[in-house]
């Protein structure tokens, strides 16, 4: 293995290969994917009928983190660029929303596209120098971004805007049109809608011509370039889109939590996103949501086992999970699906043989 062997490409094989094999083996029998997706969406939409406000709030946060992880996934999972800096994009998105709402009374739903645009521009610009850097060197550059962000948000001259070290507190939006929903229920639906929209967009992007180019760059940059893919443009654009996703998640997070402060957007948040990305499955869109579930709920589980050693218990759970599912929940699901398809196939073959 030579040094520039990418951090993510080793992962790349399972996604398309497995998808293809599952697809061909299971075309006849297995339930199509969109049915599952639809079922999940309907289930999610019905949840507020039974769940308490607190549980809805937690699930809203799960979706917010899932969306942020999806952003990271677009960059790392599909394009093979490594980032430890996504907490910065999340923070920029959160602050964009908070500043717009607090200083200019902009309605919360307008802040999402604004946060998206701001983060796209920042991500795109950051993607330009990132073109020169690979692997660990890119990791350091993005790491620098994550480390610098809290300092910049605290920076004195920006204080009238950012609120400095005190941060900004926000007011929770009520449901519009006199819908019979409380704020928690409404935010849950709002977040769910945004999430589904952006997931569908991501799915379309990945399965489009551009998506193939993006993945070709991940799998074989030189071959991609020689086939006429403008690698520089695609890489910077992916950086921008990835930042856009995470930025929108940040804006949603600010609205849901009703508070932003500079030190919330530190390097540790980036680490959380990375953990969610790997546990959910690198290169898997629904896996991102699993990642969101993991980073929100598992620390709580760890804490309930031991207060003093919660960090250690969380670490042990992480280790256990990656031993059992080295390519994340998505990889595990694909493997399970492939196994069951294979089993079904042998069963069909056998029964065909038996009945001439």
């Amino acid at each position: 293995m030579s040094a520039p062997d990418d951090i993510a490409t080793k992962q790349s094989v399972p996604f398309d290969a497995a998808e293809a094999s599952v697809g061909s083996a299971a075309t006849a029998r297995a339930t199509p994917r969109y049915v599952w997706a639809l079922a999940a969406a309907v289930l999610a939409a019905l949840l507020p009928l039974v769940a308490t406000n607190f549980v809805l709030f937690q699930l809203t946060l799960v979706m917010v983190y899932g969306l942020a992880i999806l952003g990271l996934n677009l960059l790392t999972g599909f394009n093979g660029q490594f980032s430890l800096g996504h907490s910065a994009f999340y923070g920029i998105g959160a602050y964009t929303a908070a500043i717009l709402m607090d200083h200019w009374d902009v309605a919360y739903f307008y802040t999402l596209p604004a946060a998206g645009v701001v983060c796209f521009v920042v991500g795109f610009l950051f993607g330009l120098p990132a073109l020169r850097l690979q692997n660990l060197y890119l990791a350091l550059a993005t790491f620098a971004l994550a480390t610098a962000m809290p300092q910049i948000l605290k920076f004195g001259p920006l204080e009238p805007l950012t609120g400095g070290v005190q941060g900004i507190a926000l007011i929770k939006p009520d449901a519009p049109l006199r819908l019979p929903l409380n704020p928690d229920q409404w935010l849950y639906y709002f977040t769910l809608a945004v999430l589904l929209l952006l997931m569908a967009a991501a799915w379309n992007l990945v399965h489009s011509r551009s998506g193939r180019a993006i993945m070709a760059i991940r799998d074989h940059p030189i071959a991609a370039a020689s086939m006429g893919v403008n690698t520089a443009l695609y890489k910077t654009l992916t950086f921008g889109v990835s930042a856009l996703y995470t930025g929108i998640a940040g804006a949603l997070g600010a609205i849901v939590v009703q508070f932003v402060a500079p030190d919330s957007f530190n390097f540790l948040l980036s680490v959380s996103f990375l953990v969610g990305l790997v546990i959910g499955g690198v290169g898997s869109i629904p896996g991102s949501i699993v990642g969101g579930l993991f980073v929100l709920y598992v620390p709580n589980i760890a804490e309930s086992i031991s207060t003093g050693l919660s960090g250690a218990v969380y670490g042990l759970i992480m280790l256990l999970v990656i031993y059992v599912m080295p390519s994340g929940a998505a990889g595990f699901a694909r493997l399970a699906a492939a196994q069951s398809a294979k089993a079904r196939q042998t069963w069909i073959n056998r029964s065909e043989r038996r009945s001439p």
Binding site: L136, L140, I152, V271, M318
Partner: protein
């Protein structure tokens, strides 16, 4: 002018901390081809063991040697137990394993030794060097030990069969296996050595920053920056990079008017990234050409 000199000297003293850590970073990079995010915590844990031994009455050098040995064994054990089972997993998965290890060591140290800062002795004394107030004997000692380790590493990697075998195992495991190198053990050995170097770094750093479970958090950050700036494939470059980061940071914080003080770290990082844009493999790193 005097301020400039003082800041440069203070930067070198702090840079020695980073350089020490950068060496451990490069060591693990030589062995496993990527970074160990738990390296700082491993060093912290080793230092705590040394502190505990000293508390129990073991003399400094006895504790020092014992901890270097224990760390070596511990590093190998971590590789064999934790990382061997997932050595074929994607690099990102291994990264999560590092994060998990980070959490386990940090949280356990806090539970065992609590979070109050502890004084850690230095064998070099604390007086000013040569009567001047620019640099202390401990700082000078730390720089000396860092350079000594650097020379030893250089000799090991260039001159010894084992060192060559290790480099081969990291650079090209398949071919290394073909010529009879036991790649798995080379990797474990690399883990052990980097844990030992980390332990030495920890024991040199603790007298300056005080011993507590979070002491390596910032140090590792700067150590990485130093190693990457100098070039991950070059131990000498990493040491130089560490010193450079220390000095750059101090000068940026002192002499850039208006926002230098508040954005000291940010400016230092921007400068490092700028250097990387000109030399994408670090100042002294070789860019590896891979065959398509």
């Amino acid at each position: 002018m005097e301020l400039l000199l003082q800041q440069v000297m203070a930067g070198l003293a702090t840079g020695a901390i980073y350089a020490c850590m950068a060496l451990a970073v490069v060591m693990i990079y030589q062995a496993i081809d990527h970074l160990n995010f738990a390296q700082g915590e491993m060093a912290m844990f080793s230092t705590f063991i040394a502190w505990q031994l000293i508390q129990w009455g073991v003399p400094y050098w006895g504790a020092f040697v014992a901890v270097v040995a224990v760390s070596f064994v511990g590093g190998i054990a971590i590789e064999r137990i934790l990382f061997r089972p997932i050595h074929n997993a994607p690099v990102l998965t291994q990264l999560v394993a590092f994060i998990a290890l980070f959490g386990i060591l940090n949280s356990s140290a806090g539970e065992i030794w609590n979070f109050t800062i502890k004084e850690f002795p230095t064998p070099f004394g604390r007086g000013p060097l040569f009567g001047g107030h620019l640099i202390s004997t401990h700082d000078a000692g730390m720089i000396g030990v860092t350079l000594l380790i650097l020379i030893l590493l250089y000799l090991f990697f260039r001159g010894s069969r084992l060192g060559l075998a290790m480099r081969a195992a990291a650079a090209n495991p398949a071919s290394a296996r073909l010529v009879g190198i036991r790649v798995g053990w080379m990797i474990a050995l690399g883990w052990g050595m980097s844990a030992s170097i980390g332990a030495v770094a920890g024991m040199l750093i603790a007298p300056v920053v005080f011993l507590e479970p979070n002491m390596m958090l910032g140090v590792l950050l700067y150590g990485f920056a130093g190693a990457v700036l100098g070039g991950l494939s070059s131990p000498g470059g990493a040491v130089l990079g560490g010193f450079a980061v220390g000095v750059i940071e101090n000068l940026a914080g002192t002499f850039i008017p208006y926002f230098g003080r508040e954005l000291k770290l940010t400016i230092a990082l921007i400068m490092i990234v700028a250097v990387l844009l000109v030399r994408p493999s670090g100042l002294f790193g070789r860019s590896v050409v891979s065959r398509v």
